[in-house]
């Protein structure tokens, strides 16, 4: 952070999320309301790190059943079959559609994992109060925020197939328990991203306003 950069908190000021009016914070800056519209004022997202951790840990936990349990149950005239995400990727790869396999792999495995690891990294950096490379970390955060919904691809595919392929005796497709778990992982990571206040990336530990 260069010396010319100044933040609102350093000036003892706080902007209202409701009406955009500036207020001067008195004392410790806790439990204040906007003078104009009465919206609760806080310098940073409250409990940002703890909330992010909570969502992230939940996502980590659910990521295991999402990959182990079957994603989709295919029933046809000649037998039933259930596929996990990884077996689906393997099937696509072996059957020659390596580009499709690549897409599914990136969307369903690579992105969620990257997202979770990146969030972990950012959280640790915030907790340690690192101030170096804050710009890069902020860019990473923006990428995470942008890419979040796209990892729902697998869930979309299952949803569409389940809705379309209901030929009763000939063929049916049903979502497996992993579909719900995977959807939960994606949503939880999105919540975690939202819960993390990127402004914390710029501040040393002692300045954290919880």
């Amino acid at each position: 952070m260069s010396d010319s950069d100044v933040t609102a908190s350093q000036l003892g000021l706080c902007v209202c999320h409701g009406c955009g009016g500036l207020s001067r914070l008195a004392g410790e800056g806790h439990d204040m309301c906007c003078r104009r519209c009465g919206t609760a004022l806080h310098l940073r997202k409250p409990n940002s790190v703890a909330r992010t951790w909570a969502f992230l840990i939940a996502a980590y936990i659910l990521y295991v059943p999402a990959n182990v349990l079957p994603m989709m149950r295919t029933g046809s005239l000649f037998g039933a079959q259930s596929d996990t995400i990884m077996s689906g990727v393997a099937y696509l790869w072996h059957s020659g559609s390596w580009h499709l396999a690549l897409v599914v792999f990136i969307a369903s495995i690579l992105i969620p994992l990257t997202k979770m690891f990146s969030l972990t990294f950012l959280l640790i950096s915030v907790q340690r109060g690192w101030t170096e490379r804050a710009l890069e970390r902020t860019k990473l955060y923006r990428v995470l925020d942008f890419v979040g919904p796209w990892s729902m691809l697998d869930v979309y595919v299952v949803t569409i197939l389940v809705a379309l392929v209901q030929l009763k005796t000939l063929a049916t497709i049903q979502p497996g328990p992993a579909a719900a778990a995977f959807g939960a992982v994606v949503v939880l990571t999105m919540f975690a991203t939202m819960a993390l206040d990127p402004r914390l990336l710029w501040e040393p530990k002692e300045n954290h306003h919880v």
Partner: protein, 547 residues
């Protein structure tokens, strides 16, 4: 330090209002990972709890099996999946690692069977056609025994009968396999009621043992008196009784079959136990034959040809089969320097005994009693004789019968087996008579007779010729003479006619004469009467009447 430069603006910023606010616990957010952990934990526990046992099945080949795809099915319900396939250590087969559902755990016992269901066309039945499209799967038949097992050896062919089919299994012993195979049907009154489930050559190499399964409720008709026979193909028998053609059904012609029947009169017996052992006869006749417990050997010595007599030919007592021929030999008797044919037979006294109305106390079953009986019968004329049973085929059988007017003979108890005396056979006798007649005919001087006959005929011919000449001569010389003679004769007859006419004088005279004659006869009668009464009047003259 920044206040100086931008103080004019920032100083106008009003101070925020402080509120007394209930602080929300920052710990509340941790409910989310706790819930996630609970869900995850529950899923994990559920998965672990539902995880069934893993077993290995050894097959000869992994044809049609695919790790992660092939299912294990019981009654077409998925009960497991193939997890991995690898070669067995001795490389003689493949080891298939299968994960079953939890419910299958109690059924992993010694007699649980696994096999691969593939499309199969064999033995008159088509199975597993569905697997043409869906791929093979592993079929399972749940066992009942108590010993737990995890490593199984898979069957190469599907079992014919699965454990859930009601019925019973029996064992059959036979000399040869015939055309039977696994899956061959078992018939009861020509209805298919079961099938052959297994067959193997006995350990000692003597014969074959079959396992058959008879479905309920037909298994109740199998009891200790049930006879089984091989009903394979078309049974054409040529024996002493003629030609017989026997078959069960078209299917049994193609793939063989077994039929069974229970002896009449023993239906009330309790059904046979599971795995009861039976004999498998070659045909129905053999199966339904009285099963003889006692067989007594005897022999006959025949001197005529035994052509047409075969081993197994019946020994009949007035039409009832009481034994069969076991051996046929030939030997040269040194004493008479001629051939004779010892025919060894066995007789089943049980059959004769069965004919006995009631065994009295005097009826002795021991060896000596038997001898006495035989001797008595032979004395009465009991003999063995070769008879033709079938003129067409020339089959012979040994007849045991009582003959009159036969030379005396005795049983030879010194020989083993004892010898029953014989007489020349009926046809043989007839043949020898014919032969002697033929010989006599042969001895007749037929040529000479022919020559004589020829001469006789020639002379006869000559006679005829001369007769004709004579007739011609007669015609020429005799006829005119005869005519004049006849004319004379007619004239003479006319004269006679005239003479004899009623008004002819000869007739008148004759009538008068006759009248005189009758008068004379009357007088004569009076005279004789008088003489009879008074014979003395001839001398003394007629006496005057005293009256």
């Amino acid at each position: 330090m920044y206040e100086g430069s931008r103080g004019s603006v920032l100083e106008d910023v009003p101070t925020a209002v402080a509120v007394k606010k209930r602080r929300s616990s920052p710990q509340l957010v941790w409910v989310i990972p706790i819930v996630a952990a609970l869900i995850g934990g529950w899923l994990a526990v559920k998965t672990i709890l539902e995880k069934g046992p893993t077993i290995t099945i050894t097959f000869k080949t992994a044809e049609g099996l695919e790790a992660g795809k092939t299912k294990v099915k019981y009654k077409n319900v998925d009960v497991g999946e193939v997890k991995a396939i690898k070669l067995s250590k001795d490389r003689q087969g493949v080891v298939v690692i299968v994960e079953l559902v939890k419910e299958a755990e109690p059924y992993l016992v010694g007699d649980t069977r696994f096999w691969v269901v593939r499309p199969r066309i064999a033995g008159g039945q088509v199975s597993g056609l569905g697997t043409l499209f869906s791929g093979s799967y592993i079929g399972v038949d749940l066992g009942k025994s108590g010993n737990k097992l995890r490593d199984f050896v898979g069957l190469e062919i599907p079992p014919i009968v699965t454990g859930d089919v009601p019925g019973r299994q029996f064992m059959l012993h036979a000399d040869t396999l015939g055309s039977l195979q696994i899956g061959s049907p078992v018939y009861f009154r020509q209805e298919a009621v079961g099938s052959v489930t297994a067959h193997e050559v006995n350990k000692d190499g003597q014969g074959v043992t079959f396992m058959i399964f008879i479905n309920a409720p037909y298994d109740q008709y199998v009891n200790a008196d049930t006879r089984f026979w091989n009903a394979s193909g078309i049974d054409v028998t040529l024996d002493a009784t003629g030609v017989k053609v026997d078959t069960q059904s078209i299917v049994s012609i193609l793939i063989g079959g077994i039929a069974f029947e229970t002896l009449v009169g023993s239906v009330r017996q309790p059904p046979a136990e599971e795995n009861h052992e039976f004999l498998l006869a070659n045909d129905r006749a053999a199966a339904m034959k009285h099963q003889d417990t006692v067989a007594v050997p005897f022999q006959f010595h025949f001197s005529q040809s035994i052509r047409g007599l075969s081993i197994g030919a019946p020994v009949e007592f007035r039409g009832i089969v009481v034994g069969e021929v076991k051996s046929i030999d030939i030997e040269l008797t040194e004493a008479h320097n001629e051939f004779r044919f010892p025919v060894g037979v066995v007789l089943y006294p049980g059959r004769l005994l069965a004919m006995l109305k009631s065994a009295t106390s005097e009826f002795r079953m021991d060896e000596e009693g038997r001898r006495i009986r035989w001797d008595a019968m032979v004395t009465k004329g009991l003999r063995g004789q070769l008879r033709t049973s079938n003129l067409l085929t020339g089959q012979l059988y040994v007849a045991l019968d009582t003959f009159r007017d036969v030379p005396e003979a005795k049983m030879d108890w010194t020989a083993t087996p004892p010898i029953i005396p014989t007489v020349a056979g009926g046809l043989e006798e007839f043949q020898s008579t014919l032969t002697s007649i033929a010989k006599k005919i042969e001895r007749m001087p037929l040529e000479q007779i022919g020559g004589d006959l020829h001469q006789a005929l020639q002379s006869f011919n000559r006679t005829l010729v001369s007769t004709e000449q004579a007739v011609k001569r007669l015609d020429k010389d005799l006829a005119p003479t005869a005519k004049s003679t006849l004319d004379d004769a007619r004239r003479m007859l006319n004269t006679v006619d005239r003479t004899l006419a009623s008004d002819a004088p000869l007739q008148q005279d004759l009538r008068t004469s006759l009248r005189e004659l009758s008068r004379a006869a009357e007088s004569f009668r009076e005279l004789t009467d008088l003489l009879e009464r008074q014979p003395e009047s001839l001398i003394r003259g007629k006496k005057e009447s005293k009256r």
